[in-house]
């Protein structure tokens, strides 16, 4: 019997404006039309992760405001001596630049993914991963330098003990996110390169034939991690 009844009630005229949005949302099968569950899950994860970083940053700001001992001056702490002069925040500026550039290459990768350009997509993803790895490398350098200068989670030579605590905790969490992103990028880039998404080969993260959606999902994560860095940069280093 192919005449399965599929109508599920009166078809209503589609209302305009907010009512239309509400009607779309509450209609059957899918709240987000044309969005796969994979993408929806990434958005939902990012929403939750936003709350995590917000809690970290708000806690840090509370601690910084309520501590009785003066807070070390970030411009001096995060300065590098180059050719005899001390340049404030120079390393952080370069790190920020690298990470923002990686967002650019990621956006291009997603774009070529839409066009199913296997080689360019994979190459741009690899470039993004390289930028990410550079960022983590520079962060490792910064940690080493500060540790040499005597910064510890429980003390530092210049002021409130919470400085080191908040610094290692927040940059540590962000660096972990970047590292995970790099690994994720490498895994997906390899799959793109091999053409997994063109042959519909079964496996982890393999979607339907000719769909590079996972590239876009990886991109969502990557842009998010970049955005978080902007807030860390503004609230920890510039404040």
């Amino acid at each position: 019997m192919d005449a399965t009844p599929t109508d599920t009630g009166e078809a209503l005229a589609r209302p305009a404006g907010w009512r239309g949005v509400a009607a779309d949302w509450s209609s059957d099968q899918r709240a987000f039309k044309n969005v796969s569950w994979g993408k929806a899950m990434m958005w939902i994860f990012l929403l939750s992760d936003t709350f995590i970083f917000s809690c970290f940053l708000i806690s840090y700001m509370t601690v910084r405001m309520s501590t009785t001992v003066p807070w070390p001056n970030p411009s001096e702490v995060f300065a590098l001596t180059i050719g005899g002069t001390s340049v404030p925040l120079i390393l952080i500026a370069i790190m920020t630049f690298v990470l923002i550039s990686s967002s650019g290459t990621m956006a291009m990768a997603v774009n070529f993914g839409y066009r199913r350009d296997r080689v360019k997509t994979a190459a741009l993803m690899l470039m993004t991963a390289a930028f990410g790895a550079t960022f983590v490398g520079m962060q490792a350098f910064e940690w080493t330098k500060l540790i040499h200068e005597g910064v510890r989670p429980w003390e530092n030579p210049w002021g409130a003990a919470q400085f080191g605590a908040a610094f290692f905790m927040i940059t540590g969490f962000h660096g972990t996110h970047v590292t995970i992103g790099v690994i994720f990028l490498l895994v997906i880039a390899r799959k793109v390169w091999r053409g997994d998404f063109d042959q519909e080969k079964q496996g982890f993260f393999t979607s339907r034939k000719g769909r590079y959606e996972i590239v876009e999902i990886t991109g969502l994560y990557w842009h998010f991690v970049d955005l978080v860095w902007v807030f860390i940069f503004a609230l920890f280093y510039l404040w």
Binding site: T4, P5, T6, D7, T8, G9, W25, S26, S27, D28, Q29, R30, A31, F32, V35, S36, W37, A40, M41, I44, L47, S48, D49, F51, I52, S54, C55, F56, S59, T62, V63, S66, T67, T68, V69, P153, W154, A160, A161, Q162, G164, A165, M169
Partner: protein, 397 residues
């Protein structure tokens, strides 16, 4: 959460979903947004303990020794914890709200009263519960002006909560109430939840809370509202869905025994705690010793509570026995013993086979509460039954 958003069956619009699903869905959204604060609080506490940081630890003298910590803020921990903690109480409560709505509607053979209002109340409670957390901190030493703000938001939450209680009562009103075991538990839920909700209103006011905070009154409040009430629903839910899961009914006589001992016993345990709290008995003490304000008779009451608790514990053994015994000896249930409308009762097999529906997914034509519809053949119309017009068309050769 994504299942509810993206993988509903054909015809299952959001406003046709059973309230059980609405409750669980909203609770998962809240969990997603509340657990981050718990996670961050836990990470910072771990760093304080393991690495010697001082996020939460102020300068402290312990056993005559000055600890290595300085300058941390214990109130920050409380904020993080309760930003999670208060939504958490509703993460527990909302699925119970949803389930109990379905139990009441099914076992009173009556459509849920004010379905839309019920849905919006669930959503409103979920949203509001993110802005009331500091009502747990009136006596913490936070900025006293916060108390006013949080008391206001806290009391506002009582409005959607009260709407739900009224709607449950109005569903029962003129209903054909079957006093089955699930219905008994659902009624018990209303009684205990109402009790705990009212004491919540007391505690929500700063001036009333200051003397009551950290007394047994708080213990009474949250056990009524979060301990007993949702557990009543869990039991009700188990008695309701066990036949679908196993194909057999739970034993009714044992179920009634279990219900009465649990319900009355739980009341005997927690009701006297209100009184103890008003006497000023602090919570969290294994033994009070001598005080100027707690009379000796309080000890008698405490002993009574212990006895009642043992009785309730015993009743749970009976329940466990029932679960196991009915697995092989229970009465055969058939596919839909309660004549319920929701999809799980319409599966081709009981217990449902792999994938629940066999080859074809069901199509939904109506909401979940078509009970006692005038003019209908039976007193319930399953969600996947096509409208009459369609049915005649289908029957035509």
């Amino acid at each position: 959460m994504v299942t509810v958003l993206q993988a509903r069956t054909r015809g299952m619009t959001l406003m046709r979903m059973p309230l059980t699903v609405w409750g669980i869905f909203t609770a998962t959204v809240m969990a997603l947004l509340a657990f981050p604060a718990l996670f961050v609080g836990a990470v910072m506490m771990l760093l304080d303990r393991l690495l010697g940081t001082s996020f939460f630890m102020p300068s402290l003298v312990e056993m005559g020794q000055h600890l290595q910590h300085s300058g941390g803020s214990p109130i920050l921990f409380q904020h993080l914890f309760w930003f999670f903690g208060h939504p958490e109480v509703y993460i527990v409560a909302l699925p119970a709200f949803g389930i109990v709505s379905d139990l009441i509607s099914t076992h009173a053979r009556r459509n849920i009263f004010g379905y839309r209002m019920m849905v919006w109340a669930i959503v409103a409670i979920g949203a509001l519960s993110f802005v009331v957390w500091a009502h747990h901190m009136y006596v913490s030493g936070m900025n006293p002006y916060f108390g006013f703000f949080f008391a206001t938001t806290t009391l506002i939450i009582a409005i959607p909560t009260a709407i739900k209680v009224y709607n449950w009562l109005l569903t029962l009103w003129h209903g054909d109430i079957h006093l089955t075991v699930p219905m008994l538990f659902a009624l018990a839920f209303i009684v205990t939840f109402l009790n705990g909700g009212l004491t919540g209103l007391f505690l929500g006011n700063v001036v009333v809370d200051v003397p009551l905070s950290d007394t047994m009154f708080v213990v009474a409040h949250f056990h009524m509202v979060m301990g007993v009430a949702p557990i009543m629903v869990i039991f009700g839910g188990i008695y309701h869905w066990y036949p679908k899961i196993t194909g057999r009914m739970l034993n009714e006589a044992l179920g009634r025994f279990h219900f009465w001992v649990t319900f009355l016993g739980a009341y005997a345990v927690f009701f006297p705690m209100h009184y103890l709290g008003l006497l000023g008995m602090p919570r969290r003490y294994p033994e009070i010793g001598e005080t100027s304000f707690v009379p000796d008779s309080a000890a008698t009451l405490n002993a009574f509570i212990s006895v009642a608790a043992l009785a309730v514990g015993f009743a749970q053994m009976v329940f466990l026995f029932n679960l196991i015994w009915s697995l092989s000896r229970g009465r055969q249930a058939g596919g839909n013993p309660w004549n319920a409308t929701t999809l799980e009762w319409q599966t081709p097999e009981t217990p449902p086979g792999h994938g629940n529906w066999g080859k074809e997914l069901p199509v939904v034509y109506r909401w979940a509460y078509d009970y006692s519809v005038p003019g209908a053949e039976r007193d319930f119309v399953p969600q996947n039954q096509p409208p009459a017009r369609r049915a005649t068309w289908e029957a035509a050769p």
